[in-house]
Symmetry: C2
Subunit: 206 residues, 2 copies
DNA sequence: AGATGGGTATGATCGATATCATATGAAAAG
DNA sequence: CTTTTCATATGATATCGATCATACCCATCT
């Protein structure tokens, strides 16, 4: 784990009041290393900039249960209120994280109503995204999930596949092979095209 | 749609400041009726007490895309900030809803920091629940999903099946037949028992 | 008592996907 | 320049679950 001067992504810089900016730190985690372990008292809130962080805890059968998987955004927001972590946070890839001290964050939320409302907006957007993802994962074919993704997260039938089809597959909860086949089949049927780095849905519009 | 004097569920009564209590109204919706339609300006925030409410909008291919499905809790929290609804809200069963005026809600969030923090707590809990559900829906067998549900939403390996296995099946995103079979098979293997109205996981504890 | 409806349950079938294997091309590393 | 690695791709196979059908039990209604 390495700490450096805070370089905030713009989403975070616009959300947080200036007072908090200087209190943030950037942390880089190597694949397989832990950000925190269960039992520890939360001192910071974490924002994943890149890579992938999972929150997990052991299940009754000894297997590890994944509670959350964050590739971009806040992890363990609930630690804002809780007295101790109930899970481990593990980087499953090389990961860059920004930490924000909870104590000062809480103080600012209490003292700055505009900030509190921005924070609530952020949580609302996050909720919306997660609800969409749940609905998507409830669909039972790869094609349905992919189309739902393009319709809801894309813009005008275009969805950027920045990090590749493989990572989209994980997001859709399907194997990458299945996704490759699905995309190939949709392309063959003329219902989908790859333009630049985007997946573009052929508008039936009729 | 029928409006009556506000009878708030305790979760809501404890969350909202007293000032807002009297401004709430209870609404009962018959199966198939709409709470609001896309385009309208949001005036109220809605809390589903019982029944089931979906938010949907038409997809590019004409099919209807479900954005959210609420059986208990807030629906369309994001309407707190948005200028108009982007979807329809439809009761897919006879449904009881409490409405809270957005304008006054926002005012209170700005003026009452303690309330704002309670609201943030509520959103955090909701996020936590949804993240768990996403992880659960990413599991590919019925058994894995059921065990994950019991481990994460239950208490000490017990999960109440209050509304029956059929509704749990919907929550798990599987057919009820598949769930019946899964439960039967786990019971046969001694890994699960039905005690009272609960599903009880046999602790391997060794 | 008979009818109706819903949850529970189980059987049979079919299709979709996970999984394993293999191949190719591009980029990165040596 | 060769080697390694990784995303992309496609084939073969086995399995799990969706779906349709049937049946039972229990509550409610008539």
């Amino acid at each position: 784990m390495k700490r450096t001067a805070p370089i905030l992504p713009s989403a975070l810089a616009e959300l947080l009041p200036a007072t908090l900016h200087v209190l943030c730190a950037t942390i880089t985690l190597g694949k397989g290393s832990y950000l925190f372990k269960a039992g520890r008292k939360p001192a910071c809130m974490y924002f994943v900039v890149s890579g992938e962080l999972t929150l997990e805890r052991p299940g009754a059968q000894g297997e590890s249960i994944i509670l959350q998987r964050t590739r971009q955004g806040f992890a363990a927001e609930a630690s804002l209120q809780s007295a101790s972590y109930h899970c481990d946070a593990k980087a499953v890839a090389d990961t860059v994280i920004v930490s924000i001290p909870i104590r000062e964050l809480r103080t600012m939320l209490e003292q700055d109503p505009a900030f509190a409302l921005r924070w609530i907006s952020m949580l609302n957007r996050e909720l919306k995204r997660l609800r969409l993802q749940c609905e998507r994962l409830s669909l039972n074919t790869v094609q349905d999930r992919l189309c739902h993704l393009i319709e809801t997260e894309g813009r005008g039938g275009r969805y950027p596949m920045g990090s590749g089809l493989k990572s989209i597959a994980r997001e859709l909860g399907v194997s990458h092979e299945a996704l490759y086949r699905c995309v190939a089949s949709l392309e063959k049927g003329g219902k989908l095209h790859r333009v630049g780095g985007d997946l573009v849905q052929a508008g039936v519009s009729g």
